[in-house]
Amino acid sequence: MLLNLNPEVLEITLLSLKLSGIATLISLFIGLPLGTVLALGLFPTRRFWLSIVNTGMALPPVVVGLSISILLWRSGPLGSLGLIYTPAAIVIAQVVIAAPVVTGLTVAALQNQDPRLQTQLYGLGASRIQMIWLLWKEARLPLLAALMAGFGAVISEVGAVMMVGGNLLGQTRVLTTSIVMETGRGQFAPAIALGVILLLLAFLVNLVLTWVQQRSAHK
């Protein structure tokens, strides 16, 4: 199965990669600015929001699946959108899981920087946006790590994906849900093969990100 990649497995693999990639990118667009505001902003409710984000980092995926299912269920508040058991539902669940991870690690990356750097940059005439851009550049290594952690969280996710996606062949069947299904049937050979593909995929994506990260570390 591994050597003769059949079209069905290829489709499942590509769908896994596509949905996890989209969810990670959306999480980055949410997590990077939100994490920056929480790391640099001085507002009274900051600690409260930080606690929410930190709790979100440890959110049980099955609870996420349940909540999104209730929201998207045909009779639920957003049922009219018809998203339950669609790829979009999977992306929504994955974003809810990955965005707090990216946000929390962005906060940690920026707060780990010397606060005097901000003073120095302002003292050289930086606008707020120029200052933030440079802080991101300086924190590029931990920020890439945040991206890797976000991708790792969604590519390996199964519970929520199964609940909101439904594991429909050709529509919402991804690597993790296929593995669960094959194992349930007692078909260990294809389950192992899919597991190896999942591992390879995670390895390859992280290899690319690590290469980018380490290249910028030594530049």
Partner: protein, 370 residues
């Protein structure tokens, strides 16, 4: 000439505690104003307020006679340069670091290159241009930080103890080069330091800050020769400060009663005025025994040694001559004189070495004649 920068009634509080309270401070065009004070005195806070990197809880900042409002921050910050104690370089090449501010200002690439080249050469780091900032020594990193600030051609340069993290030879060399740089550029400069030598060496004027307040401001030689208060005197290394009362004044020649002794000084005070008598340890000469040759020193007192404290290359000897006098001598002299606690010695000092600080009439202090 109008002041470039003026701070009025500035108050900064932190956790309910007042850490800065400056009624008025002006920076004149082209001058080097050094702000000197001990750790925690509020020097850096004052610098940040002057650079508008910290908004005071009260007070206002005027730049070229105009009060800076809430929306003027960026425009003002683009007229200044800042060098901190830690160079705070980016994880990039030396060149990229030097042009950081120029990029913020939207300067063209050609001009960035021209200005960076000029200032890298001025600070003798042209050969490091392509090197990573992380591989530089402390002195080189601080040169990059200076080049980065001066490349902006700022109207005012703010420096917060830029040389205090460096080893002594590097610091001495950089300080000399920096003085030359300031002389050549004529930049208006605010320089914060806790080091009196740096303040004396660089400053056209010195402001002494203690506990968040400016206690004295003036030409360095005047401030160091005539501290305005016992607190300033103590900070500036005037080890001997004793209370006394002026008993006679004749053509500026003053006799002050300190306990049962008479100290001669040169000052403009009236008889009966309570004063603090201040003496620098380096102005005191210490003699073995009590039979001395005639000299021009008007003050001569004998007594036993009460304390011997070695400090660096010097030894500080405290003598009880009716009031405690501290003298600084070299370690070699201390050895040759075989100084020890209890040994009787004589101290001499000129009337011109005595500085008198007037004090409140009602204030009675140890040393006042009974």
């Amino acid at each position: 000439m109008n002041d470039v920068l003026e701070l009025q009634d500035a108050v900064v509080q932190r956790n309910g505690r007042e850490i800065l309270n400056v009624e008025h401070l002006a920076v004149r065009p082209g001058e080097v104003l050094t702000i000197i004070g001990p750790n925690g005195a509020g020097k850096s806070t004052l610098l940040l307020v002057l650079a508008r990197l910290l908004l005071p809880d009260e007070g206002r900042l005027l730049f070229e006679g105009r009060t800076l409002g809430r929306g003027d921050g960026l425009a003002y910050r683009r007229k200044i340069g800042l060098v901190l104690q830690a160079p705070m370089l980016l994880n990039a090449s030396v060149y990229d670091n030097v042009v950081t501010g120029l990029r913020f200002h939207g300067i063209s690439k050609a001009e960035q290159s021209q200005r960076a080249g000029l200032w890298l050469e001025q600070l003798h780091i042209g050969h490091l241009s392509g090197q990573r900032a992380g591989s530089l020594s402390g002195g080189e990193a601080q040169r990059v930080s200076l080049a980065r600030a001066f490349a902006l051609d700022p109207e005012i340069v703010f420096l917060d103890e830029p040389f205090s993290g460096l080893d002594t030879p590097t610091r001495t060399r950089l300080l000399e080069e920096f003085q030359l740089l300031l002389a050549n550029t004529g930049k208006t400069t605010v320089f914060v330091t806790h080091d009196m030598n740096e303040a004396l060496f660089l400053g056209d004027r010195v402001a002494v800050i203690l506990n968040g307040k400016i206690h004295q401001i003036g030409a360095p030689d005047k401030v160091f020769a005539a501290p305005a208060s016992p607190e300033v005197a103590a900070f500036l290394g005037v080890d001997t400060t004793v209370a006394g009362v002026v008993i006679t004044v004749e053509n500026g020649h003053v006799v002050v009663a300190v306990n049962d002794q008479h100290v001669e000084a040169l000052a403009d005070v009236r008889p009966g005025r309570p004063v603090m008598v201040c003496l620098r340890p380096e102005d005191i000469t210490l003699w073995d025994g009590e039979d001395l040759p005639a000299s021009s020193a008007r003050n001569r007192f004998s007594g036993p040694i009460t304390k011997i404290v070695p400090r660096g290359p010097l030894v500080y000897v405290e003598v009880d001559c009716g009031f405690a006098v501290s003298a600084a001598i070299t370690r070699a002299s201390a050895r040759e004189m075989a100084l020890e606690k209890g040994k009787r010695v004589t101290v001499t000092f000129k009337a011109s070495a005595v500085h008198l600080i007037p004090r409140q009439e009602a204030e009675a202090l140890p040393g006042d004649p009974a």
